[in-house]
Symmetry: C2
């Protein structure tokens, strides 16, 4: 399983079963990433190769390939674009780790922890620009435009998120707007490209895009829950950074919306006073007793159902079945 | 002079004369930048608009337009690609200012100083991705590929530069390799695109590309000298950051190469001990007396001559004359 960073991982085994229908293509994507992400200059080469390992689960390439397979035949562009979206995803991770001051990711040191912020900024830029270059080698301006626009929406979402940090008035609607941009947009883009380059008509392409968007939203809610409830050893990444960075996530927004006037007085201290990773027992108890954790889980499940519903535009196939399985995996994952 | 950040600037007047043959097109580029770089979300909008102002002299759009005009007629793609290269340039500036911990740029606070590094990282990413999206709207994968590859080379050059920080063994050849990538590549790209979209044949396109490369090298040497000798009030940006960041520049490399064994013993302390902006009188005296400042100036002049030589492939024209003038401006500039 050369495309997975952590070979003896249980989750990796599950994924390898899920990814089976596009296994050969994922190996080609991995080869392409290895070939493209290198430099003749040793210090640059070391850094860039380190970056290739950080993405991990290769969920986004799998989305491109499975969406393509579910709609028709895979073409060489699918391999290229799978590598492109993985590079973009990795670039955003590397830059996110600067913002979050995270120190571990995929069980290894983050770039900012192992080197410094300077290298992280430049490695992210290197990955972004290489991704755009590689996208252009498909010869399709549709691909370049779709990827450029989606990536720009991701950045705008991230900017909105930092702007809403510590804002206890953030509504659920605004929260969903932000995660639709910062996380779901790239998943939507992956599925759109997969469908498009398999020759899907625009109705099917739009449905696959909407599938990816719903999946991405469910994924982000699950990620928010992991950051609160997860275990660093299992997830292999720094947790509790949402609270540290005063990021408003769905369970917190729900908790605030349920609070009595008296509770609202004390909640800001409980939420924003988190300094040490935020796994405050008192806060977690409140999130449980108010039903906020369950609420977020139910929301994630609902988006999974909506995602699966989008796939009914397609005939039954192994690839379609796998896309459905991925939805279940995304909300059940522990890393 | 809406396209210049600082309206009452002497340099701006000189530039407005230089840019005269493409003045109308520069106004269109400015309008396009203003239209493209906005957001419906107020906090994002404020930041993005601030970013538009930072680029300043609009040298790179002028290169696209003048190279185009010197080779033939300007097309709508020239306007789009001019805005694209300016966005890319601004993205690299915003990220550079994080690395350099610079606080002023174009007479205004840098993004990292006015907001923070987090916003700077994301604004740079927003600009990069928007630039790539905009490039794709030309409908030309040649444009996307050329811009993607050049920008990736720029990032690799920046990574090599940070890798060579404080390396007193850096050779002149390595120095030129680095600035050819980090600065000259984007200028070369501008001129190539300008020529290409004016219908130039590949010989002329290559010559214009080489013109831009030589101009960019001269520009960077002049920039290195400014960082040592300039005045913050005139340049409107933080200076002395090269020494602070232990960046090896041409005058320093020359000084080291000229030093006697005894001098080589004490030079590292003089060069690397700079903590307060590096305008050390002792160091500047040494750079003067060793002829290192003059040497760097002569090198810059030589690249200007080589740049002008490249233009002889073109018939005489006003635009060609202006490109020659720009070379002179680049080495004579005080900001």
């Amino acid at each position: 399983m050369s495309h997975l960073a952590n070979e003896d991982d249980v989750a990796a085994d599950i994924l390898s079963a899920i990814y089976a229908p596009v296994q050969d293509e994922l190996v080609q994507v991995e080869d392409l990433l290895q070939r493209e992400l290198r430099s003749e200059h040793p210090t640059v080469d070391e850094l860039v190769r380190y970056g290739v390992r950080l993405g991990g689960k290769r969920l986004r390439p799998a989305l491109v390939l499975l969406a393509g397979r579910a709609c028709g035949d895979l073409a060489p562009s699918h391999i290229i674009l799978s590598a492109v979206v993985e590079m973009i995803h990795t670039a955003t991770l590397v830059h996110d780790d600067i913002l979050d001051e995270a120190t571990i990711r995929r069980h290894v040191d983050t770039v900012n922890a192992r080197w410094n912020n300077e290298k992280s900024v430049l490695l992210g830029d290197f990955l972004f620009t290489h991704a755009f270059y590689l996208a252009s080698t498909t010869g399709s301006t549709y691909a370049c435009r779709t990827i450029g626009r989606s990536t720009n929406i991701v950045c705008e979402g991230e900017l909105r998120q930092t702007g809403s940090s510590g804002n206890l008035e953030l509504t659920e609607e605004e929260y969903f707007d932000i995660i639709r941009a910062k996380t779901a947009e790239l998943c939507a883009c992956c599925c759109r490209l997969g469908a498009h380059f398999a020759g899907a008509d625009s109705t099917v392409e739009d449905a696959l895009c909407q599938f990816g968007r719903n999946l991405g939203i469910a994924f982000q809610i699950a990620d928010d829950l992991l950051d609160l409830l997860g275990d660093e050893a299992t997830t292999g990444k720094s947790l509790g950074t949402d609270l540290e960075k005063r990021k408003m996530t769905l369970p917190l927004i729900h908790l605030l919306s349920q609070a009595t006037p008296a509770e609202r007085e004390e909640l800001p201290g409980l939420l924003l006073g988190q300094e040490n990773g935020g796994h405050s027992t008192a806060l977690l108890r409140r999130l449980e007793s108010s039903g906020s954790i369950d609420y977020a889980r139910r929301q994630a499940d609902e988006f999974v159902q909506q995602a699966i519903e989008c796939l009914t535009v397609l005939p039954a196939s192994r690839a379609r079945g796998v896309l459905e399985q991925m939805c279940q995996f995304v909300v059940a994952r522990r890393e």
